[in-house]
């Protein structure tokens, strides 16, 4: 167990010196390396939250698997939701290298103790939401995550490399869904625009509060877990979206959005952080159903897992006898 590394495990300070050096030279910290307890704790929180987000994030899209309007889209959507489950498992593995076991993390999720990305507390009333989630939500996730591929903690950075590859695939698929709708019937175009109207601002808020209100960010940047500030990433995302929206022919729902020649970036309007706080506090459109749905699945499956455990026990008893 890695817990042995913590607290009084670095009496002569050599662990800290080596850690600082690895960070300074942009090298990777590995599970067997000494690391500060706070660094470990920050990583566990971040990685498990990310895993939980993948798992809960299956639901808004899973909602449309049985109703996808073409077999091709059904296949893409099933594959995507399956990827998300895979990401969840992969990230749990990365977190386990830090000494926190998966059952605990999952238990924290289904008892409501652990967090997941607030964006998944929005609902998906229309098919176009499959496009918006891909284009906007996965798009924002990628902006967040690409820098994480260089995160100082090795297993996390490597997990992110794989995940980012799949996410950018997902983003393109989302863009294609919207493109197909915008090239379709008036009803389809309206469906696409209405969906983008709902998802645009929540996607921008995925980068977290403005830098001035984001107390944890500084330390994470010093540790090279995080590489860019919330506001930097948000700006990068908006700059990326505008030309894509033009290709799609959708209007981004922000009257203040315009090119700032001087800054070389798009200016954009104030976000409704009160809304963000509401959703974070559990009063989003779908908070009430997300965790309880996974918990119900887990509880209904208890007899299955019990059988698997009993069988494994019998097998290993047989092996020993």
């Amino acid at each position: 167990m890695h817990a042995a590394h913590e607290l009084d495990d670095d009496p002569d300070g050599s662990g800290q010196r080596r850690f600082d050096e690895l960070i300074a030279t942009d090298s990777r910290i590995e599970p067997s390396d000494w690391m500060p307890a706070a660094y470990r704790k920050t990583l566990v929180r971040q990685i498990s939250q990310h895993a939980n987000s993948e798992i809960i994030g299956m639901q808004p899209e899973g909602n449309w698997i049985t109703r996808a309007p073409s077999l091709k889209r059904k296949a893409i959507l099933m594959a995507k939701v399956q990827d998300e489950a895979g990401h969840g498992l992969y990230l749990y593995s990365a977190a386990q290298t830090l000494g926190t076991d998966r059952d605990t993390m999952f238990e924290n999720l289904i008892t409501g103790k652990a967090k997941y990305s607030s964006i998944f507390n929005y609902t998906t009333p229309t098919w176009a939401d499959m496009g918006s989630i891909g284009w906007l939500v996965d798009g924002a996730a990628i902006c967040n995550q690409v820098p994480l591929c260089r995160a100082s903690y090795g297993p996390y950075g490597r997990a992110m490399v794989r995940i980012c590859k799949e996410e950018s695939f997902h983003q393109r698929q989302g863009f294609e869904i919207l493109l197909e709708l915008m090239r379709g019937t008036p009803a389809q175009q309206q469906m696409a625009q209405e969906s983008v109207n709902r998802w645009y601002a929540p996607a921008l808020m995925m980068f977290g509060p403005p830098d001035a209100d984001s107390p944890n960010s500084q330390q994470s940047m010093a540790w090279k877990i995080k590489r860019f500030s919330n506001d930097e990433l948000r700006q990068r995302f908006v700059d990326m979206l505008v030309p894509q929206a033009e290709i799609l022919g959708v209007t981004l729902p922000d009257p203040d959005l315009k090119w700032n020649e001087e800054r070389g970036h798009y200016d954009f309007g104030e976000l409704d952080w009160a809304e963000f706080t509401e959703v974070l506090a559990g009063r989003g459109p779908a908070n009430a159903i997300r965790v309880s749905r996974r918990r119900t699945a887990h509880e209904n499956g208890e007899w299955v897992r019990a059988a698997a455990r009993a069988y494994a026990d019998k097998q290993s008893a047989d092996g020993q006898s």
């Binding site: 798992i55 299956m58 639901q59 899973g62 698997i65 049985t66 109703r67 996808a68 309007p69 073409s70 077999l71 091709k72 889209r73 059904k74 296949a75 099933m78 594959a79 939701v81 399956q82 489950a85 895979g86 969840g88 498992l89 098919w127 869904i177 197909e180 709708l181 379709g184 019937t185 009803a187 389809q188 749905r293 996974r294 119900t296 699945a297 887990h298 209904n300 499956g301 208890e302 007899w303 299955v304 897992r305 019990a306 059988a307 698997a308 455990r309 009993a310 069988y311 019998k314």
Partner: protein
């Protein structure tokens, strides 16, 4: 060729309806690994369905989506096993065990079909259904030998699904090809697959400490558009959006 197309349609409908059922499990499985595994199997089956429906539709100038979304219940020709509800996890495993063992025999034979397209689809599918059977087999053992409850549920699941086994091997199930001659060398006679199934599945069931069911068979008739009452609601959900936007492309 119309008869080949109808043959492909039947196989395609089997795969499509089962894929749709497996899709219902996603986000509801007993553990994340099973969300992944059941989605995987569903995806493979959906892939088979798409190839088969595309091939069938090519004879009639129809796309896979025309066939999947704009036919009514009586026009669906899947055999009844595939439309049965997921039930609990054990029932899903029972259904999948039977389905996968059947598919293995079918695609093995079909990969030698004189129709190169069917042969190609079958050869590709064969590798996948082999993994599917392995998955069901592992769970059959775990549930059969696991706890008293899992044993009871697994047996119940087998009992419920077994009545749909005979239909899989009924020869009158090749529509429009009653004398079997026109598709000789192209299609696989379902009855020819029975021996392989019987040599495999009862043994697996017994190894799991379970009993091979003996209840009378359901009447079947899925290939002729006769279905149990479970297909209608599946189609209502599957087709709702596509039908709300006729002529749209997605």
């Amino acid at each position: 060729d119309d008869a080949v197309a109808r043959y492909a349609l039947g196989l395609g409908d089997d795969a499509l309806v089962l894929a749709q059922r497996l899709g219902e499990w996603v986000t509801n499985a007993p553990e994340l690994e099973e969300d992944v595994a059941l989605a995987n199997i569903g995806l493979d089956l959906l892939g088979h369905a798409r190839s088969l429906l595309t091939y069938a539709g090519s004879a009639w100038g129809q796309s896979e989506d025309d066939l999947a979304y704009f036919r009514d219940e009586a026009q669906f020709t899947n055999r009844q096993l595939f439309e049965q509800p997921n039930g609990d996890f054990a029932q899903t495993i029972a259904r999948q065990l039977i389905a996968s063992a059947y598919f293995i025999g079918l695609y093995r034979e079909l990969s030698a079909s004189a129709d190169p397209l069917l042969a190609g689809i079958a050869a590709k599918a064969l590798k996948e259904v082999d993994y599917h059977l392995d998955h069901s087999e592992q769970w059959l053992l775990r549930l059969g030998h696991g706890t008293a409850e899992s044993h009871r549920r697994m047996q119940r699941g087998l009992d419920a699904m077994w009545v749909f086994v005979d239909e899989l091997f009924t020869d009158d199930a090749i529509p429009g090809d009653e004398d079997a001659a026109p598709l000789a060398g192209i299609a696989v006679a379902p009855s020819s697959l029975r021996a392989g199934f019987d040599a495999l599945v009862p043994r697996l069931i017994t190894q799991a400490g379970l009993t091979v069911p003996t209840a009378p068979s359901a009447r079947g008739g899925g290939r002729q558009g006769s279905h149990t009452e479970y297909l209608g609601p599946i189609l209502a959900e599957m087709q709702v959006l596509a039908r709300a936007h006729p002529g749209a492309s997605w």
